[in-house]
């Protein structure tokens, strides 16, 4: 077997075509991209590592706190899920948190998708002075960490007496440089110039072109961007943590309070229940639309 593998014939195939290894290790030209058993095993390990913490969250959330704090840890779901959910609901206002997160992530993704499509279309298909410089500027803004604006934003928000209100979380996230870049990449390839020209010849102004030509073509990319922004906004932590309190939290802020004091007296199962409740909505979206999200990321639209 080893001899078959190490014969120099494969390397010297050009000189001795008939010496190429046969049988199990024979390679035909079309086989080069077919997965071998090693690839399956490695990917299975990766899938287990990725999914296990999610599974275990469910296990912990459905057992009692005492059971979770024992060694060895529980491996199978228990029957306490409902009790833990009610406790988590009492400890942190999970209902309000879920509603708030939905409102925030919904507004943020709607506005980001709309503005990104407009700007992405302009950068991809319209000629104007300073286009390249402005596009570079858009990309450059991606590198600025949010920490750099937090302190003044906090002052503005408190001065407007918007502390603890959702608009203070929504407004700073209305646009995203990533979204503009994403839509530009997509529309550069997906939208032919001829279509815009034809619409112009027919007398359509820019707004009509946006509505009747750009939006229909951009719809798949808009959907993917919307989902990516929704996930990002739902999971955003730093700024909501600074500006919101437990009276009006997003899911992440509520979770930070549940897990805040991880002393021994705290019911670990309830903490895990909070994590489960906070993650479940997105996991459900993923279970339903996962293929499309993956397709969107791999379609090449995110490529640099």
């Amino acid at each position: 077997m080893a001899a078959t593998l190490s014969t120099p014939s494969a390397r010297g195939a050009k000189h001795a075509e008939q010496d190429r290894p046969r049988g199990l290790f024979r390679r035909r030209a079309g086989d080069h991209d077919k997965a071998g058993p090693v690839a399956y095993v490695l990917l299975a390990i990766a899938a287990v590592v990725s999914l296990f913490p999610l599974y275990w969250t469910f296990v912990a959330a459905s057992n009692t706190g005492e059971r979770v704090a024992q060694s060895p840890p529980p491996m199978v779901p228990g029957g306490e899920l409902w009790t833990n959910i009610t406790t988590a609901w009492d400890q942190a206002d999970m209902g309000k948190a879920l509603l708030n997160s939905t409102i925030v992530a919904g507004c943020v993704s709607l506005s980001t998708v709309l503005f990104s499509t407009l700007a992405g279309f302009a950068f991809a298909k319209l000629r104007f002075r300073g286009r390249n410089a402005l596009l570079t500027l858009v990309v450059a803004t991606m590198t600025i960490p949010p920490q750099l604006s937090v302190i003044p934003l906090y002052r503005i928000v408190t001065k407007l007496e918007w502390g603890n209100q959702l608009q203070s979380v929504i407004l700073p996230s209305l646009v995203a440089a990533f979204g503009v870049f994403f839509m530009r990449q997509f529309l550069s390839e997906a939208l032919p110039f001829e279509l815009i020209e034809a619409a112009r010849v027919d007398g359509a102004n820019s707004l009509r072109i946006i509505w009747h030509v750009v939006f229909p073509i951009a719809r798949p990319a808009m959907a993917v961007l919307g989902m990516l922004v929704f996930v990002q906004s739902w999971n955003d932590f730093f700024w909501p943590f600074v500006v919101l309190t437990q009276q009006n939290p997003t899911v992440q802020v509520a979770l930070s309070a549940i897990g805040g004091g991880s002393g021994h007296d705290i019911n670990q199962a309830v903490i895990m229940t909070g994590a489960l409740v906070g993650t479940l909505p997105l996991l459900l979206i993923f279970a339903v639309l996962g293929k499309h999200i993956v397709g969107g990321i791999t379609s090449g639209a995110v490529k640099s």
């Binding site: 913490p53 060694s71 920490q147 302190i151 102004n205």
Partner: protein, 318 residues
């Protein structure tokens, strides 16, 4: 003469329309990009400059209108402070031990996912699933898994006889935090790599495999060089993410929170910024940390730019 005049003055309505048309053509691009730039100016650029101005003053969180000029005092004080250097070092080490394994694993996974196989869709969605979890949820889960007394990880490691304390020791706690980051982002990066790999022409591989190149050689000689721009892009994005690390170390610290562990063993720059600005109420000093972060990012960006240029020049010279 008369005919000439008539030709020069077309009917009024079309003239008005064509001027409108030209105005639309000229102005609408700016109208379309305006929302982005207006929002960025209001919520990004203006606060950024304001932060710079604040960093030159003494400002109390509770009396923000009273500003005392300090010049560069906040900065000199910061740079002579051990806790700042500790936070900077932690940000760097956590950044390295989370970014490097993350991107290498992502590259390998992308390569595997690029094969023709059964269940490809399942594997892709499965490795992306951690991306759907939040910092808060993921950290809470890993705090449990890393628990030194009853956590799943020590229960497994106990079989080989080691019991690291993932909370109190410096390296274990930093590795634990890096694990959370790596877990959440590896799949996402793998899919970005996969997108780039799918654009690599298939006949390159066909030719290589006919020439007898094995899969490892194909990977290192064809795949990696072909997607180098994407790799650079992910390195930059992960570096930026690593400098901002906040939620993971903060929630990993549990009750201790922003101090980043009992001996600040995993306090990052962002945590230090928050500790100065809110619990310590010193907005001026916190602003100085923020601007130091910007300075660092600029330095990293410059270094990356110089390295790419150096490599390009070397390749051309060779």
């Amino acid at each position: 003469m008369a005919t000439h005049v008539r030709a020069e003055a077309p009917p009024a309505r079309p003239a008005w329309r064509s001027r409108l048309y030209r105005f639309d053509l000229k102005a609408s691009p700016y109208a379309f990009i305006a929302p982005f730039f207006l929002c960025f100016a209001a919520f990004g650029l203006f606060p950024l400059i304001w932060t710079g101005w604040l960093s030159l003053h003494y400002v109390d969180l509770l009396k923000p209108d009273v500003m005392e000029w300090r010049g560069f005092g906040n900065y000199t004080r910061l740079w002579s402070n051990d806790q700042f250097w500790n936070a900077l070092r932690n940000t760097f080490t956590i950044g390295v031990i989370s970014t490097v394994p993350q991107l290498l694993t992502a590259l390998g996974l992308a390569h595997l996912l690029n094969y023709r196989m059964r269940g490809r869709g399942f594997f892709r969605v499965a490795i992306l699933a951690p991306y759907a979890t939040s910092i808060a949820a993921a950290t809470l889960v890993f705090v449990q898994l890393f628990n030194p007394d009853y956590g799943f990880i020590n229960w497994m490691l106990g079989a080989v006889g080691i019991h690291p304390n993932w909370y109190s020791d410096t390296w274990p706690s930093q590795i634990a935090i890096s694990t959370i980051v790596t877990w959440r982002w590896t799949g996402y990066n793998a899919l970005i790599y996969l997108a780039a790999m799918q654009a690599v022409p298939k006949d390159l591989y066909e030719a290589a495999s006919l020439d007898g190149a094995n899969r490892w050689q194909q990977f290192t000689r064809i795949t990696v060089p072909s997607i180098r721009p994407t790799i650079l892009f992910t390195i930059i994005v992960s570096t930026i993410g690593a400098t901002q690390l906040f939620g993971e170390p903060m929630l990993f610290g549990g009750g201790v929170g922003v101090s980043g562990g009992s001996a600040h063993q995993f306090q990052t720059l962002s945590l230090y910024l928050y500790e100065l600005g809110w619990p310590s109420r010193q907005l001026g000093r916190a602003s100085a940390v923020a601007w130091t972060m910007l300075l660092l990012l600029l330095l990293i960006g410059l270094a990356q730019f110089l390295i790419t240029r150096y490599r390009k020049r070397n390749e051309l010279g060779a």
